[in-house]
C-alpha cells in the first residue's frame, strides 16, 4: 500500500488570473495522454460555458493523469484545478486541502501579482510544497530571470530550478511534470486506519444523486461500503467509486489512502453533503473528522427575485443545487413590496454574485431581478442590543440606533509605479486609509490600504483597471468592523418608497449616490401617461430628484394599405413588454431599472 502511495502526487495549480493556469492544465492533460489530440479542446477543465466565455475558472475540478517519469517509474498525478480570482479564495483553499503540493504559475512578463501572493500564502498555510513555474516565456516582453529573482525576493522560495515554459506553445511541459514528481511529497496516509476522506466538491446528477469528489487521507472506500458523513451523521451505501477523467467519472474497485476520486451513494438530498465534511465508515469509523475548511462567511448580499413570480420554486431549487458545491453561497427567503417573493443571497464578492446570477440564468433558464448589493452592518442600539443587518429594509429606526459599524478590508494593490498617484486618489475617494507602500522593483509598487468593504463591492476593480491601463492587481481580506456614520437611502417613485432600491451608504456619499441613482432610473423608466417624480431621501429629507416626463406621443401614424398584421404585432410586442414590467404603485418599472442602479459609474 505504501508503495502504491509512493507513486501518487496530489497537486493543484495556483496563479494570478490570466497567468496561464488553465492552459498549463490543458498541456499536462495532453502531454500525459489523458486526451488524444483530437479530443483536445482548449481549456478542457473549464467545462462550464461561463468559464470559457469569461476565461476564468470558477469551480475547482479534478482529474487523474498518468505520467511515466524519467526515473522509470509510473506516477499517478491528481490535478485539482483552482480559480484565481479573489472572490474564489474559498474554492482555492478547498483544493489546497486535498493536495500536498502546488505548481505556482507566474507570468514571465507581468511577474508577481496580488493574487499570486494571496494564493501563495494560502498554499503555505496549508503546508504545501511549491513548484514555481514561469510561463509565457514566448512573449517578447518576457523577463524570466527578473521574475525568478522576484519570486525569491518577494515570496522567499528558491526559484533557480523553476521550469521556464510556454504553456501556449507546449514548451517545457515535461519539466513541470518532473518537478512535480520530484518536489511534491507523496501522500502519507495509512490505508489500515479508519476511513477519512475529505469532500472537496460535489454535484447533483439526475441519475446517480449527489456525487462526492473527495480526497482519501486514511483507509479506503469501495462499492458496498457503508459510509457516514460526519457533519450530518447521515449514512449511505456506496454504489460506485472511482477516479475522474476529463471526460467524466471512471468507476474502479475503490479509492485507497492518498487517492483522489468520486463516490456515488444514492444520496438524494442535496443538503446532506457539506463540502469540507469528512466521509468515514459506519463500522470502525474515524473518531475525529479532518480539520475541514475555515468557514467562509458571505460578505456581499443582495436580493434575487424571479422576474416571473411563478418561478419562485424553480429559483429555490436552483439555488439549492448551486449551493451544493458552493458552500460560500447562502440564501434565505425574503419578500419585497416591489418585487414579490425572492431570496436574500450572500456571496464572497461581486464577481461571485455575477457568476451565480449568470449560472442561474443560463443553467436554469431563470429570468432574474437583483437588488443593489450590500454588506453586513453591525447595529449597536441605544438599549445596548446589537444586531447584524444584511438587508437595508431591516434597519431599525435611527432613533433606536446608538451607532453602526461596517466591515473593513485590508487591500493589497500591485501597480506600476507611475500609477500610484491615481490609485491613491481612488482609494481616497473610497474612504481608504493608507497603510503601507513597498517597491517590488524600480517600476512596480505594492500598496496596502484599509478600505470599507461597501466601497469596493460595486465597481472598485473596474475603476482600478481603468486608472492603471489595466495593470493593477488587487486582493483583499476582511480585517474587522469599524464604526462609521451610515444612513439608509430610500428611493421614491411617484412618492412611494421602493423597498428593493433602498441601501445603506456612508453619509458623505449619500448625495452623490442618490443623485446618480435618480439619473439612472430616469434613463431606465420609460415615459408613462403621467409625470413620475424620482426622489432619493434620507428619512423624510429629499436629497435628489429627477422627473420622468409624461408621455406625449405613442401612436402609429400610418395604418393603411391593408397590411395591419405588422401594426398588430407592434402593439402585441408593446403589450408583452408591459407585462414584463414591475408594477410599483401606479408606475410600471422595467426589470432593467432595478439592475441599472448597480453600475453607477457606467
Amino acid at each position: 500500500m505504501s508503495e502504491h502511495q509512493e507513486n501518487i502526487r496530489n497537486f493543484c495549480i495556483i496563479a494570478h488570473i490570466d497567468h496561464g493556469k488553465s492552459t498549463l492544465a490543458d498541456r499536462l492533460l495532453e502531454y500525459t495522454g489523458v486526451l488524444s489530440a483530437r479530443e483536445m479542446e482548449d481549456r478542457i477543465l473549464d467545462n462550464m460555458d461561463l468559464e470559457r466565455e469569461r476565461g476564468i475558472t470558477i469551480k475547482a475540478r479534478a482529474v487523474r493523469l498518468i505520467y511515466n517519469a524519467r526515473d522509470g517509474q509510473r506516477y499517478v498525478l491528481n490535478l485539482i484545478d483552482t480559480p484565481g480570482h479573489v472572490d474564489f479564495n474559498y474554492e482555492v483553499s478547498r483544493a489546497l486541502a486535498a493536495c500536498e503540493g502546488a505548481a505556482l504559475v507566474v507570468d514571465a512578463a507581468q511577474g508577481i501579482e496580488a493574487q499570486t501572493l494571496a494564493n501563495t500564502y494560502l498554499a503555505l498555510d496549508h503546508g504545501l510544497e511549491l513548484v514555481p513555474v514561469i510561463n509565457k516565456i514566448d512573449l517578447p516582453s518576457a523577463r524570466p530571470e527578473h521574475v525568478k529573482k522576484e519570486i525569491e525576493d518577494v515570496i522567499g522560495i528558491p526559484a533557480d530550478e523553476s521550469p521556464l515554459i510556454s504553456a501556449k506553445q507546449g514548451v517545457g511541459i515535461e519539466e513541470v511534470l518532473e518537478q512535480i514528481v520530484k518536489t511534491v511529497p507523496a501522500p502519507s496516509g495509512d490505508a489500515d486506519k479508519p476511513l477519512k476522506a475529505l469532500i472537496f466538491d460535489s454535484y447533483y446528477d439526475s441519475y446517480k444523486g449527489v456525487i462526492i469528489y473527495c480526497r482519501v487521507f486514511d483507509g479506503s472506500v469501495k462499492p458496498g461500503s457503508k459510509i457516514k458523513l460526519m457533519a450530518t451523521g447521515k449514512v449511505f451505501e456506496v454504489v460506485e467509486a472511482g477516479y475522474l477523467s476529463p471526460n467524466g467519472m471512471v468507476a474502479s474497485d475503490g479509492l485507497q489512502a492518498g487517492e483522489v476520486g468520486f463516490v456515488a451513494a444514492s444520496i438524494k438530498n442535496v443538503a446532506d453533503t457539506n463540502v469540507g465534511d469528512t466521509v468515514t465508515t459506519v463500522e470502525h469509523g474515524a473518531a475525529e473528522p479532518l480539520p475541514g475548511y475555515k468557514q467562509v462567511n458571505p460578505m456581499v448580499f443582495c436580493g434575487i427575485y424571479p422576474a416571473d413570480g411563478a418561478r419562485y420554486d424553480d429559483l429555490r431549487d436552483a439555488l439549492g443545487k448551486l449551493r451544493l458545491n458552493d458552500a460560500s453561497l447562502s440564501f434565505e427567503p425574503e419578500t419585497s413590496v416591489a418585487l414579490g417573493f425572492g431570496f436574500r443571497c450572500g456571496f464572497l464578492g461581486l464577481l461571485h454574485l455575477e457568476i451565480i446570477q449568470e449560472r442561474l440564468e443560463r443553467e436554469y433558464s431563470l429570468d432574474l431581478v437583483t437588488t443593489a448589493p450590500g454588506v453586513v452592518y453591525k447595529i449597536i442600539k441605544n438599549n445596548g442590543e446589537t444586531a447584524e443587518i444584511d438587508n437595508p429594509t431591516n434597519l431599525p429606526s435611527p432613533s433606536e440606533i446608538n451607532y453602526m459599524e461596517e466591515p473593513v478590508v485590508s487591500a493589497a494593490i500591485m501597480t506600476p509605479a507611475d500609477t500610484v498617484g491615481n490609485i491613491m486618489e481612488l482609494c481616497q475617494e473610497r474612504r481608504g486609509v493608507f497603510k503601507d507602500m513597498k517597491y517590488l522593483d524600480e517600476s512596480r509598487v505594492s500598496l496596502t490600504y484599509e478600505l470599507p468593504l461597501n466601497e469596493i463591492i460595486y465597481d472598485f476593480f473596474d475603476a482600478l483597471k481603468s486608472r492603471t491601463r489595466g495593470y493593477a492587481s488587487f486582493d483583499y481580506e476582511l480585517i474587522g468592523y469599524r464604526k462609521a456614520t451610515l444612513v439608509k437611502l430610500d428611493i421614491l417613485l411617484n412618492a412611494e418608497v421602493v423597498d428593493a432600491l433602498s441601501f445603506i451608504v456612508h453619509t458623505d456619499k449619500a448625495y452623490e449616490r442618490g443623485r446618480k441613482i435618480c439619473e439612472k432610473l430616469k434613463a431606465a423608466i420609460p415615459r408613462q401617461l403621467f409625470e413620475i417624480p424620482i426622489q432619493a431621501s434620507i428619512g423624510s429629507k429629499i436629497i435628489a430628484r429627477e422627473t420622468v416626463k409624461a408621455m406625449r406621443k405613442d401612436v402609429l401614424a400610418k395604418c393603411y394599405g391593408g397590411d395591419i398584421t405588422r401594426k398588430k404585432k407592434l402593439l402585441e410586442k408593446q403589450k408583452e413588454g408591459k407585462k414584463r414590467m414591475r408594477q410599483v404603485g401606479a408606475v410600471e418599472v422595467p426589470q432593467e431599472a432595478f439592475m441599472s442602479v448597480l453600475k453607477l459609474d457606467e
Partner: protein, 356 residues
C-alpha cells in the same frame, strides 16, 4: 358598404430614405411581366361587387402609361370611389386626362413637404413647383377630389417650417389632407442615420397645430392622420379601420374576407412567377382586438351597440379597470366610445390596456 379593391404597384423612380413600403427603384425590367401577372390575378379573383378602388405603391405612375391604363380599365366600374396615388412630376397633363377618362375620380398626391431642403432630406425627386404644376394639371383634367399627403417631425424641422408646408398645401383647398408624423422604420436609411429629429413635445405641437388649423379651415379630423371636407373622407381607407372586406392584388397585397386575412408574396419576382398566398384565420380574440385598435383610430371611435352585438359584452364594463387609468383620454357620447385628441396622442399605450 361593399367590398374594397386595392392594387399594389411596387415600383418607384427613386426609393425615399424613410420608406419601408414594398417598393423598388431597381426592378424596372419587371414592370411588364408584373403588369401581366397583376392582370391575371385581377381576372381570377376580382369580386362581383365593390365600391372603392385604390391603386397605391410605390408609385403607380412609375409604370408606363399604357400599363397603368390597362390595370385601371380592368377594375374601373361606375359609381366607385377610385383613387390613384401620384407623385408630383411623374404624370403630365395628358396622363391625368387619360386616368380621368378611364374612370379614376380621386388623386392622392405624395407631396410630403413644401420646402426644398426637406424634400431633399427625404430623398424626394420633385420640387414644390413640380407639385404645383401637377396639382393644376389634375384640376384641369377635371379631378374634383384630391388628397395631399404631408409629413411632419422631419429631421431639422421646426414648428414654423411645418406651418409653412401646411399653409401652402391648405391654400390649394384640396378635398382631403393626410398629415403623418415621420416614423423611423427599421431597415431604412433613416434608421441607420443620426438624425436631428424634433422631440416628442415638438412633434405633438406640430400635430396639434395641424389638427386645430385644418379644423378651422373646415376640414374634419376623422382619423389619427387624416382630414377631409364633408363628404370627402376616403371611403376606401375607412374600410381598413372598419374591417369591411377588401381584396388586395399585387406583390405583398393583403385581403380581408370572411374573418380571414390573406397576404400575397411580398417579393416581386416570386409574385410574378408563383404567387404564394399566406392565410391567417382570425380567432375571436384577434377579431375583437382588431376591431378595437383599428376602430379607435377614427376620431368618432367605435359604436358601443355594434361592439355589444359583435362581442356580447358592454365595452365600458369589460374595460372598466383599464379605463380608470385613462381619465381624460377618452369620451363616451352619442352611443360611441372614442379617444380624445390627448388620448389619440398616446393611443398605443391605451390600446395595450384595452386589447386582450
Amino acid at each position: 358598404m361593399s367590398n374594397g379593391i386595392y392594387i399594389h404597384i411596387p415600383f418607384c423612380v427613386k426609393k425615399c430614405a424613410y420608406c419601408d413600403f414594398n417598393s423598388y427603384d431597381n426592378l424596372d425590367g419587371l414592370k411588364q411581366p408584373y403588369t401581366e401577372a397583376l392582370l391575371r390575378e385581377v381576372a381570377a379573383r376580382l369580386p362581383a361587387a365593390y365600391d372603392t378602388i385604390f391603386i397605391g405603391g410605390g408609385t403607380p405612375t412609375a409604370l408606363p402609361a399604357a400599363s397603368l391604363l390597362r390595370i385601371v380599365s380592368a377594375v374601373a366600374r361606375e359609381g366607385c370611389e377610385f383613387t390613384v396615388e401620384v407623385n408630383p412630376a411623374t404624370l403630365d397633363r395628358g396622363g391625368f386626362a387619360a386616368l380621368k377618362d378611364a374612370g379614376v375620380n380621386r388623386i392622392s398626391f405624395g407631396l410630403q413637404s413644401a420646402l426644398e431642403d426637406e424634400l431633399a432630406v427625404l430623398g424626394r425627386i420633385h420640387t414644390f413647383a413640380d407639385f404645383l404644376r401637377s396639382y393644376r394639371d389634375a384640376r384641369d383634367a377635371g379631378f374634383g377630389n384630391i388628397s395631399i399627403d404631408l409629413m411632419f417631425s422631419l429631421p431639422g424641422q421646426t414648428l414654423d417650417k411645418w406651418k409653412r408646408t401646411l399653409h401652402s398645401a391648405a391654400a390649394l383647398s384640396p378635398e382631403h389632407l393626410s398629415c403623418y408624423s415621420l416614423t423611423i422604420e427599421e431597415g431604412t436609411p433613416f434608421h441607420a442615420m443620426r438624425l436631428d429629429l424634433p422631440s416628442e413635445e415638438e412633434d405633438r405641437q406640430m400635430y396639434r397645430y395641424a389638427a386645430e388649423y385644418l379644423q378651422r379651415l373646415g376640414y374634419r379630423h376623422y382619423e389619427i392622420s387624416n382630414f377631409a371636407r364633408d363628404g370627402y373622407q376616403c371611403a376606401h381607407n375607412l374600410k381598413y379601420w372598419e374591417r369591411t372586406p377588401y381584396y388586395g392584388f399585387g406583390a405583398g397585397a393583403h385581403s380581408l374576407t370572411g374573418g380571414t386575412r390573406y397576404a400575397n408574396s411580398r417579393e416581386v419576382r416570386q409574385y410574378i412567377s408563383a404567387n404564394a398566398v399566406t392565410e391567417t384565420v382570425l380567432s375571436a380574440t384577434d377579431i375583437e382586438n382588431e376591431y378595437i385598435f383599428l376602430g379607435l383610430r377614427k376620431t368618432d371611435g367605435i359604436r358601443l351597440a355594434e361592439y355589444r352585438a359583435l362581442f356580447g359584452a358592454e365595452f365600458t364594463e369589460k374595460h372598466a379597470a383599464a379605463l380608470r387609468n385613462y381619465q381624460g383620454l377618452y369620451a363616451v357620447d352619442d352611443g360611441r366610445f372614442r379617444l380624445t385628441l390627448d388620448g389619440i396622442c398616446v393611443s398605443n399605450t391605451i390600446l395595450c390596456g384595452l386589447m386582450t
